[in-house]
């Protein structure tokens, strides 16, 4: 079966900039960051949002880098809202003040997601590579609550904080969040570089999963706990992005449109830009979006696997990163011929973070 573009993408991840004051070692941004001079301007983003809405996109996630690094963030938010999109700001809180947030709400912002690095301040700031970040997050969360803006706390989980999952849910509740994501690090971008410093042990992962179940029961009706599972220790791969080119589009700061944020790590894929094509052309016709739609690209063991319509062979980027072949089964799958390598990679240990840093003015 060859893949046909589905007519209805749900989401648009708008990476407004790669600039960010934090240096989180698990950042999903690529190792080669787009420069400020190459960033799309306000008017182009406004056009992208209108094209996205016409294509059926319902929600846009204003992200980065740190979106607050864009001085025109209010105008960008207003443009997304005016296009009819549900607008979600994904921020580290650093660079975003209560006054600016009020202006965003006025412009039509629907929801805010604030990341936290840990429930312990010193550890949180160490992980972020930015002293004072934790305090800024508390302040911004309080501002969101004052503005009646719904708040999600995104807690990124890895070896340094995985034993404090309960404390992080407590912190999310104290901050006034209605939803918390317990998001295990996914190993792409900077996180892949830092894998040995971030990877928890299998028993830590299992303990955290049990804890999340207990926390859901304990906090039922008070806060929604969504978990993003770690996949190196699971027997089957994740249904990455709900299938390649099925649900969402990711626009980079410079305007390249990707099926997912790590897609540029796969060599040979041809990405089209919003500077030269409409979003509809890109969604339906761009070589990168069509590369892994359907099942015609699959090899064994995926071709004959009854789960192929459920998990789509896992993640293409991870297949390339771990097996050297983007059309191979995701090696986290126990049926993959490369699966034994995954356990060895998960067992590697290093204690030093390689922080990502890019100057705000760059």
């Amino acid at each position: 079966m060859n893949g046909v573009a589905p007519s209805n993408p749900l989401g648009l991840l708008a990476e407004l900039t790669h600039r960010c004051p934090l240096g989180c070692p698990y950042c999903s941004n690529p190792l080669a960051l787009d420069a400020r001079a190459d960033e799309l301007d306000t008017a182009t983003w406004a056009r992208v949002f209108r094209e996205a809405a016409a294509l059926g996109v319902l929600q846009t996630h204003l992200s980065g880098g740190e979106p607050a690094a864009r001085p025109d963030l209010t105008a960008i938010t207003a443009a997304a809202h005016d296009a009819g999109l549900y607008t979600n700001l994904i921020t580290s809180a650093v660079g975003m003040t209560g006054n600016r947030l009020a202006a965003l709400v006025e412009a039509g912002l629907d929801h805010i997601q604030v990341s936290i690095q840990d429930s312990v301040e010193a550890s949180a700031d160490r992980i972020a590579g930015y002293e004072g970040a934790f305090a800024r997050k508390r302040e911004l969360a309080a501002a969101a609550v004052r503005l009646a803006l719904p708040l999600t706390v995104n807690a990124v989980i890895h070896r340094a904080n995985i034993d404090r999952v309960g404390e992080m849910v407590d912190l999310a509740l104290a901050l006034g969040a209605k939803r918390v994501e317990i998001a295990h690090v996914q190993y792409y971008g900077w996180a892949l570089t830092n894998r040995a410093a971030l990877m928890p042990t299998r028993s830590q992962v299992e303990r955290a999963a049990t804890q999340v179940e207990a926390l859901r029961a304990a906090h039922h009706g008070r806060i929604v706990i969504d978990a993003v599972a770690p996949d190196y220790y699971s027997p089957y791969p994740k249904p990455c992005m709900g299938g390649w080119g099925q649900r969402s589009l990711n626009v980079t700061p410079a305007g390249r449109v990707l099926p997912c944020h790590a897609a540029e790590t796969i060599p040979g894929l041809q990405f089209w830009s919003v500077r030269t094509h409409t979003l509809a052309e890109i969604w339906h016709e761009s070589p990168a979006f069509n590369a892994f739609r359907g099942t015609a690209w699959m090899k064994e063991p995926c071709v004959s696997c009854p789960r192929r319509a459920r998990d789509f062979g896992g993640c293409r980027c991870q297949a390339f990163a771990l097996a050297g072949d983007a059309a191979a089964a995701d090696p986290v799958c126990h049926l993959s011929p490369d699966h034994t390598r995954v356990a060895a990679l998960a067992a590697a240990r290093e204690e030093t973070y390689h922080y990502r840093h890019v100057a705000l003015g760059a």
């Binding site: 059926g56 319902l58 549900y86 629907d110 929801h111 009646a148 939803r179």
Partner: protein, 98 residues
């Protein structure tokens, strides 16, 4: 925890909270409920119930109105409406203020 359906007081006034809204999408074949980083398809019955959750009407009034509009038995409407609203409230997609 999730096995029981919690009762909703008949005099509570259900409303969609900030950040949750019902909207029509041709591309997605009808009505959808947009929420923080989630999208739910809403079937025609759900749409009729959710549209009435404005924070003005009580649950009892909403049920009366639906029973009248669809000439349906009140008990049945109450059960269906309560089940839907309780599910939404569990997901923090509905506020039940008194």
């Amino acid at each position: 925890m999730s096995g029981e359906t919690p009762a909703i007081a008949l005099d509570s006034r259900p409303a969609l909270p900030h950040g949750v809204r019902l909207t029509q999408s041709e591309a997605h074949g009808g009505w959808v409920l947009l929420a923080p980083e989630r999208v739910f398809k809403a079937d025609p019955i759900a749409v009729e119930i959710i549209r009435r959750c404005t924070g003005a009407a009580t649950l009892a009034e909403i049920v009366d109105d639906l029973a009248r509009a669809y000439a349906a038995p009140r008990e049945r409407v109450l059960a269906d409406t309560t089940a839907l609203l309780a599910g939404l409230a569990d997901k923090k997609l509905l506020e039940l203020s008194l």
